[in-house]
Structure formats: structure tokens, C-alpha cells
């Protein structure tokens, strides 16, 4: 077969064009595949969240704090420098500094708000942890692996909600009644609320939610449109703590 210069250039040009088009075709065909597989709806999304109804929260009641700290062996250290807290109260102004003004009414001024780890969508504590001791589970729980924590406290600096406490001293002597089913922590590790993942594994709801007699705390899957939390979020106006920081906190407040 004889090939002239013109014929050679034609064939070569077509070949190069084919190589250039291939990646585009790949992308398009993969997108179609993904579309098809997601239609089956096998995977059910799960995103755990909590709604705190401050209207139902009775002043002076500490049932949720007692329940949580009892179940999780949280030490009761009076000295605020050393204190460890998983769920605690703070005045409205301090809890929601960007929603505060001089004339706040509705009984919110100075009244306590229940605070806990926000189990953020985009947790800054997870991002800074050098050992991956803090990580985010698929269901949204921001968990700690105390075995891996080296006590560097980067996470405490990163968390804009003050949800993390460092064990400056051995917590054991400060635990009134040790729950043998849950480990205590040791000196030199950071700890925080774990959304009661150990209770969820047994099919129980979080201890704070269970202990609240006034239904001020509601817990559930926020991805499920029929869940109780979604119903409450639909029918009430809710706010979150410092949403402007972009952490995507998952504790919603009715004020």
C-alpha cells in the first residue's frame, strides 16, 4: 500500500483527535453509571442531630447533666481551670454571642442554655488532630479514640464551642460513682460528648434525652424526613451556635 503525505497527515490527525476525546467520553459514561446506581435507593442516609427546646428547659434542673456525667464517668472537679464537661449550661448571651443584643426579651436574657458538642458537619477539631484520634463517623458523630489521643490540645483550640475538656489530673478520685461499663479517662487526654454512641449501639437513646422529663431534648436522624427532629425543625424556627464559622453544627435550638 502506498501512502502519500496528505493521506498520512489525515490519519495521524484523526488518531490524535480520538485520544483527546476519550477522557470526555469516560466522564460522561461514568456519570450515567453513578446516576443509575443511586436510583436503586439501597443506601439510607443517616445524620444524627439534636434539637434543644430552651422553652421547655426548666431553670435549675440538671437532670440531663447528671445523667450524662453519671453514665460516662465524667469527673466533678469544682475548680473551673481543671473542670471536665460533656454537657453544661451557659447564659444565652455567652452561648449565642452573635445573636445577642441589649434588649433581648422572651425571658432569654441571662437564662441558661444547654450546651454540648455540636457534632459538626465540618468539624474543625477533626481537621487539626495530628493523630486522627478525633474523627467523624458516617452517621455524623464526632468521635474520640482516647487510645490515640496524645494530649496536644489542638482540638481544644480549634473547637469554637468549648466542647472539649482536658484531663489536667487523674479524673478517678473525682468520680463519685464509677459506672463499670464505661471507661474513665486518664490524665493527659482530651474528652467530650460522644452522642452516647455506646448506648446507640445497644439501641438506646442518649442519656441526656432519656433523662429529660420536659422533652426539651429531642434526638434523631435529620436525614429522615419523617423523623421527630425533622418534624420539630419543620414546625419551629431554630437557630444554631455560631453558624457563620462554617462548621455546620448539628445541635439546633428553639429559643
Amino acid at each position: 500500500m502506498k501512502i502519500d503525505r496528505r493521506g498520512f497527515l489525515k490519519i495521524g490527525g484523526l488518531g490524535i483527535l480520538g485520544v483527546a476525546v476519550k477522557p470526555v467520553i469516560d466522564v460522561v459514561s461514568k456519570a450515567k453509571l453513578a446516576e443509575a446506581s443511586s436510583k436503586k435507593g439501597v443506601l439510607v442516609e443517616k445524620r444524627l442531630a439534636m434539637v434543644v427546646n430552651l422553652k421547655n428547659c426548666k431553670e435549675g434542673c440538671t437532670d440531663c447533666i447528671a445523667a450524662c456525667h453519671g453514665v460516662h464517668n465524667v469527673p466533678d472537679i469544682a475548680n473551673p481551670k481543671d473542670e471536665v464537661k460533656w454537657i453544661w449550661t451557659e447564659s444565652y448571651e455567652n452561648a449565642f454571642p452573635d445573636q445577642e443584643h441589649r434588649f433581648i426579651g422572651g425571658g432569654m436574657k441571662g437564662s441558661p442554655a444547654i450546651l454540648l458538642c455540636n457534632h459538626c458537619d465540618n468539624p474543625s477539631c477533626v481537621r487539626v488532630c495530628p493523630t486522627k484520634a478525633t474523627f467523624k463517623r458516617e452517621d455524623g458523630i464526632v468521635m474520640m479514640d482516647y487510645h490515640r489521643c496524645i494530649g496536644c490540645r489542638f482540638c481544644m483550640a480549634a473547637c469554637p464551642y468549648g466542647s472539649r475538656s482536658f484531663n489536667w489530673r487523674d479524673p478517678r478520685p473525682f468520680i463519685k460513682k464509677v459506672n463499670p461499663e464505661f471507661p474513665t479517662r486518664t490524665k493527659g487526654v482530651v474528652e467530650k460528648c460522644n452522642f452516647c454512641e455506646e448506648r446507640l449501639a445497644k439501641g438506646l437513646i442518649p442519656a441526656c434525652v432519656e433523662s429529660c422529663k420536659n422533652k426539651a431534648l429531642v434526638f434523631g436522624n435529620v436525614e429522615d424526613p419523617n423523623s421527630e427532629v425533622r418534624e420539630i425543625l419543620r414546625s419551629n424556627y431554630t437557630i444554631r451556635r455560631k453558624p457563620g464559622l462554617g462548621t455546620g453544627p448539628q445541635i439546633y435550638y428553639i429559643v
Binding site: 474523627f135 468521635m143 464509677v178 474513665t184 454512641e197 449501639a201
Partner: protein, 128 residues
């Protein structure tokens, strides 16, 4: 070689001193002692065979820990198909409730200090 006597005597004294721990134990009758574990257990069989547990329990516990904390998988299926809840405090120590006679004896003998019990709670010794 004027000081031959002195040198040989010196070497002998040196050897005696450096082997002191060995012959001290031989004379004291403590040679080749192995710790005797007191196994107090409600069950006849541990999670895996005794031989496996004796050599690999630390690895097993590490795997359990990673599985529970990291992957939220809490059920262990043993070789014989039995299922166990992966928990040091609630599964292991539920049977081996005599930590002092069981865990510590061997760990002390081998001079290992696992940090498990800095956090995990040792249940009060059950009288069986």
C-alpha cells in the same frame, strides 16, 4: 607477664560478680520459676483457644479496640462460630474477674505495664 596471678584472680572475681544474679537464683531455688495463674472463670472456654489467647491476646485486644472505636463493629465471631461482645471490661473481665491473680501476675513477671486499666474499670473481684 609478671602479674599473671593478679590478672587471673581479677578475671575470676569479675566473672563471679557478673554472673551473681544467675547463681544467686540457683542457690536460692528460685531458678526457672514461672508464674502460676489462677484462672477463675464462669466459662470453660475463652474466646479462642488457650494457646492462642496466651500468645495473641494483646493483638486480639488491639483488633477489638480498633473495630469497636473506629468501625462501630462490636460483635466478635470466634473460630468456633460463637459470638461475643467486644469489650475488655464487660466481656474479658466478666470472666477473669481476678485481675491481680490473672493479668498482673504474668505482666509483672515479664515486666510489661499495659495501660489498659488507666481508663478501663476493673470490676470488683467477684467471689466465685
Amino acid at each position: 607477664m609478671n602479674n599473671r596471678g593478679m590478672i587471673i584472680a581479677g578475671i575470676i572475681i569479675f566473672l563471679c560478680l557478673i554472673t551473681f544474679p544467675i547463681w544467686y537464683n540457683v542457690v536460692g531455688g528460685k531458678a526457672a520459676y514461672t508464674p502460676e495463674l489462677k484462672i477463675v472463670s464462669k466459662e470453660k472456654q475463652c474466646v479462642e483457644s488457650t494457646k492462642y489467647m496466651r500468645s495473641q491476646h494483646m493483638q486480639l485486644l488491639n483488633d477489638w479496640r480498633n473495630s469497636v472505636v473506629r468501625e462501630d463493629k462490636r460483635t466478635y465471631t470466634a473460630l468456633d462460630g460463637k459470638k461475643y461482645d467486644m469489650s475488655l471490661s464487660n466481656t474479658c473481665l466478666n470472666c477473669h474477674s481476678n485481675k491481680a491473680d490473672f493479668c498482673d501476675k504474668c505482666h509483672n513477671y515479664l515486666e510489661v505495664t499495659p495501660t489498659c486499666w488507666n481508663c478501663h474499670v476493673v470490676p470488683e473481684e467477684n467471689k466465685l
